[in-house]
């Protein structure tokens, strides 16, 4: 069965990357396992379509989709909160909602601040900083244009920089209490 050998060689080697993404998105270890399990089933099914391309980006794309499907089935309310248009509206409106997000991340340690980011920001941060993927690869995995990847990264970083421990590093905060 060549698919199984391929699965081992091209998918299972990226299991840690896939699980890490699922875990950061789902927060919970058990939920992440469910997502990864589903993603592996899909990967096995479509492995024939994987040509010479990078298996990691391909598998991460599948994990991400599996996660959003899982979310729609199990936590539809969360999906609603993370709707793209809702978050995009934040930046355009006056300071209101974005300020609220800044306040939310303000007092958290860095890891908690990342965990508290809205999904569409969290996923680009994990893909960029933990997987060190290029904008192009992230765009493909997150299924958005490169410009969107850049603007999401930029806003995610702005939110994280608002978290307290980082503020101490910021030049503007010199002289303040740590």
């Amino acid at each position: 069965m060549p698919e199984h050998a391929e699965f081992e060689r091209r998918v299972l080697v990226h299991l840690d990357a896939g699980y890490n993404l699922a875990r950061w998105l789902a927060h919970d270890a058990r939920d992440a396992e469910d997502v990864v399990q589903d993603a592996c089933l899909r990967a096995l099914k479509y492995i024939g379509s994987l040509q010479g391309e990078d298996g990691r980006a391909w598998f991460l794309t599948i994990v991400r989709r599996a996660f959003y499907d899982w979310l729609a089935r199990n936590r539809p309310a969360l999906l609603l909160h993370d709707d793209e248009s809702a978050v995009d509206a934040l930046a355009d409106e006056a300071d209101g909602p974005e300020q609220a997000l800044v306040r939310k991340t303000e007092r958290l340690a860095l890891v908690e601040a990342v965990a508290a980011l809205p999904l569409i920001f969290r996923e680009v941060i994990v893909l960029r900083e933990l997987e060190q993927l290029s904008y192009k690869e992230i765009a493909r995995i997150a299924e958005v244009p490169i410009g969107t990847v850049m603007s999401r990264l930029s806003r995610a970083r702005r939110l994280l920089q608002a978290s307290a421990p980082l503020r101490a590093l910021d030049g503007r905060a010199e002289g303040r209490e740590p």
């Binding site: 069965m1 199984h4 699965f7 081992e8 299972l12 080697v13 299991l15 840690d16 990357a17 896939g18 699980y19 890490n20 875990r23 950061w24 270890a29 992440a32 396992e33 990864v36 399990q37 592996c40 096995l44 860095l110 890891v111 990342v114 941060i125 994990v126 960029r128 900083e129 933990l130 060190q132 290029s134 904008y135 850049m150 990264l153 930029s154 970083r157 994280l160 920089q161 980082l166 590093l169 910021d170 030049g171 503007r172």
Partner: protein, 257 residues
Amino acid sequence: MKCDEVAPLLAADADGEVDSLRSHAIRKHVAGCAVCGPRQRALLELQQRLRAELPRHAAPAALRARLRSEHSPAAARPPAPELRWRWFGAGLLTGSLAAGLVWAASLALGPVGPGDDLSGRVVGRHTQATLGQHLVQVASSDQHRVKPWLSARLDYSIPVSDAAQAGFPLVGARIDRLDGRPVATLVYRRRDHVIDVFVRPDATAAGPPAVHAVRGFNVAAAKGADMEWLAVSDLRGAELEAFLQGLARGEVGPPPE
């Protein structure tokens, strides 16, 4: 370049997405700019902290085993050698609570086996790890995953290279304790042999002893990159020593970036 040109490019530059010519121009501007300078520093600091502090969650061993048995033609071929020893150990532990307790106790008590010398202690760590289910805590052949994983958990950073091209694929890494301090352990494979490589800051002035045998295992030592390197395996002594020397001198695998 001017501020209004540079500002939107700072993030892309920090992410390595700007060509070298423009990157050079950005650096020149930032060096003398009181607005872009702090902005760039804040960006780089955030990036550095994220990479150092965010945990990478490795897939649980049980999940990996389940996926493998579900989706691999296990009946058609024997498990790969590296699995045989890993799951052999896991089976022993889960199969018998008593065995698990004994193993946990041996971990808690520290070194096992006769002799209090360093070689005896690293051989003890090696046998514990190969028999238990914690051979690696991060399973990856990618040096760019293993190195930051270790750096995030130690107060020193070590060079990590996959030596697959030389026939020594990197399996992963774990953190052990040696002399009361956490130490980086890189795990490599050579055919059916597991090789543990312990790496820690060089604290001793003595030259490395020749490769020698301890309880049936070969132990080799080397120095390089300001680190002390100790390798343990049931691999032939000469082969183990040659591999370790190359590793310590950074001569195996692709050059670290």
